[in-house]
């Protein structure tokens, strides 16, 4: 696998990879800081942080200055509750003041648990699962109708794939040969309360997408080289929707909450937040006493 990957790949230098890793680490710091004082959906935010960092740095043509340009690339965050990863990424890109994250959940700003268009860079609001595949499909079809070459990326959650509207939208996307659409599945293997495979099993997921007419690649969603290899060959096939199933770890970066069903939504105490920041940097494992929460 490594051999064929290298043959096809557009490689990144070690420095480039290190730069992305460092930025992703800082994004995780921002996410962890949003996990107190009301809290956030930390597990899914940490699982997709490497993806958002990669996409905005390497794949999308979007910049702070072209956010209204109809020729920009689009990123839609369909599951929505992973939006702290996006805010953290925006801070690192210089699109958002770092201090603004202190307004998380405050009425003086619009930084809440789900994305909304009051924040520059957010293309559309989400929160109700199974919506943005069809909304982004509309954007992608329109780009093609206008003979523009924009790329449209939609990050969906794996649990979100329970919603039938995703599969309906896929039928339509395939019928219209929407090859400018790239669906990224943040495959952290959990839905709100339990592993996906214990509730509504999704595997074999590649085959499901392929049966709907998509071209699929499966990668490690925390490995920037694998991301580069997959995304640099987009679109995988002319006339097909491209799907990247990114295997990720819920809570990635914090061993004390990784892959834990009960750490989906969290509201940590200040000292826990500080301990988790240390844990992120490998200093010491945090001791967590806050109640585990299930919002749903």
């Amino acid at each position: 696998m490594n051999t064929s990957r290298r043959e096809n790949s557009k490689t990144m230098t070690k420095d480039e990879i290190k730069k992305l890793q460092d930025q992703a680490l800082r994004v995780r710091e921002h996410i962890i800081r949003m996990s107190g004082n009301g809290g956030c959906f930390i597990g899914a935010s940490l699982s997709c942080a490497d993806l958002t960092v990669y996409l905005y740095n390497k794949f999308l043509n979007t910049t702070k200055d072209n956010l209204q340009d109809p020729n920009r690339d689009y990123l839609f965050l369909s599951k929505g509750h992973d939006v702290p990863a996006l805010y953290g990424t925006f801070v690192e890109l210089g699109w958002m003041e770092k201090d603004r994250l202190k307004n998380h959940l405050k009425t003086n700003d619009n930084i809440y648990w789900h994305p909304n268009r009051n924040i520059p860079g957010i293309e559309f609001h989400s929160g109700s699962l199974g919506h943005l595949l069809s909304v982004s499909l509309g954007v992608a079809i329109d780009c093609k109708l206008q003979k523009q070459t924009n790329k449209v990326v939609t990050i969906v959650g794996d649990g979100e794939l329970n919603e039938g509207s995703n599969w309906e939208a896929l039928l339509v996307a395939s019928a219209h040969k929407v090859d400018n659409l790239c669906i990224v599945v943040d495959r952290n293997a959990f839905q709100a309360n339990m592993p996906t495979e214990d509730l509504i099993p999704l595997e074999p997921l590649e085959k499901k997408f392929e049966a709907f007419g998509c071209s699929v690649k499966r990668i490690n969603g925390h490995d920037f080289e694998e991301m580069e290899n997959a995304f640099s060959s987009f679109p995988f096939d002319k006339n097909n929707v491209s799907v990247i199933i990114a295997d990720t770890i819920r809570g990635k970066g914090l061993p004390s909450i990784e892959k834990r069903a009960d750490r989906w939504f969290v509201n940590f105490k200040d000292e826990e937040v500080e301990a988790l920041l240390k844990e992120l940097h490998g200093v010491a494992k945090a001791e967590l006493t806050s109640e585990t929460l299930t919002v749903r």
Binding site: V135, S136, L137, G138, D142, A169, L171, V172
Partner: protein, 299 residues
């Protein structure tokens, strides 16, 4: 000029228009060949169609979506509310065979809670044309309005030539002070004839065609409440959430009261049959309406 001609003309003159359907082509059958690049059929997918329309509106298109009113407003309700409504996007939602117009299809196809559902969405406006003439006069303004709009499609033959259309402005026939009949959409023709029957019996009748139930023409309604002995709300809609509710809310808001006689579907689906038979069976012909009103005003 019919609906299809109008869309053809508008789309040809303005590239922002995109005509979308969830495989409901009855009113737009010849458009695909005429405006290929401004036409999209998503198949039997009301939810996806509305989501797609929202995405296109994000790119400054004016999407006009088509499906049967019942599936559009209910199967896709959350997409309308969440994507179009929260986004405040100028998607134009055209519901086919609303109200009694689903005639013999049965309750699955009866959109008789659509006004109730759509008017509860912030930013959403509603246009219920009385007939084809009313529809063709209204649509150019509805389509260029910046709000999302729900349209109860109605191409029945007109009994009258309608005046110019303005969003939020009712069309008023007569200045009678005995009875005011308030209605919207398909039942306008029955109401118009009921007015004549009542006038033949010596009543002074005012007929108010509430072209846009939202935004409602408050002045027209409140003036009628002030002037007339009896207000009649006439609608092919459940009693809950439609015109009777709109009127009740408006009167309360203005600390006004009135003698109101609602004629609507009282918490039940209507008998499926051919259209004229539906009207007869359910008591919504002009004569039946006039008779009911006369009995009520005499009581």
């Amino acid at each position: 000029m019919n609906y299809e001609d109008l869309l053809h003309q508008l789309a040809t003159n303005d590239q922002r228009y995109i005509i979308i359907t969830a495989e409901n082509r009855a009113a737009i059958r010849t458009l695909p060949s005429k405006i290929e690049n401004q036409f999209l059929d998503t198949g039997i997918t009301e939810q996806t169609m509305v989501g797609v329309a929202a995405g296109m509106a994000l790119r400054d298109r004016i999407p006009i979506v088509h499906a049967l009113a019942t599936f559009l407003t209910m199967r896709a309700f959350e997409f309308i509310r969440t994507d179009v409504g929260i986004g405040n996007l100028p998607v134009k939602i055209v519901g086919a065979v609303p109200g009694f117009l689903s005639d013999a299809n049965g309750p699955t196809h009866q959109a008789i809670e659509d006004i109730s559902l759509m008017r509860g969405i912030p930013n959403m406006k509603i246009f219920c044309p009385a007939d084809e003439d009313d529809m063709l006069k209204g649509l150019p303004k509805v389509f260029t309005d910046e709000s999302p709009f729900y349209i109860r499609y109605n191409n029945q033959k007109p009994l009258v030539e309608h005046e110019d259309f303005k969003i939020g402005k009712a069309e008023i026939f007569g200045d009678g002070k005995d009875i005011a009949i308030l209605t919207y959409g398909f039942l306008f023709n029955q109401a118009y004839q009921a007015k004549e029957l009542l006038e033949d019996k010596g009543y002074n009748v005012r007929l108010i065609n509430l072209r846009t139930p939202k935004p409602i023409d408050e002045d027209a309604v409140l003036n009628a409440a002030n002037d007339c002995k009896l207000l009649v709300t006439l609608e092919d809609h459940f009693i809950t959430g439609g015109l009777f509710s709109i009127l009740s809310e408006l009167l309360l808001k203005n600390k006004q009261t009135a003698d109101v006689f609602p004629i609507a579907l009282m918490d039940k689906w209507f008998k499926p049959a051919l259209l004229n038979d539906v009207l007869e069976y359910e008591g919504f012909t002009a004569k039946q309406i006039a008779d009911k009103i006369e009995i009520r005003i005499k009581s």
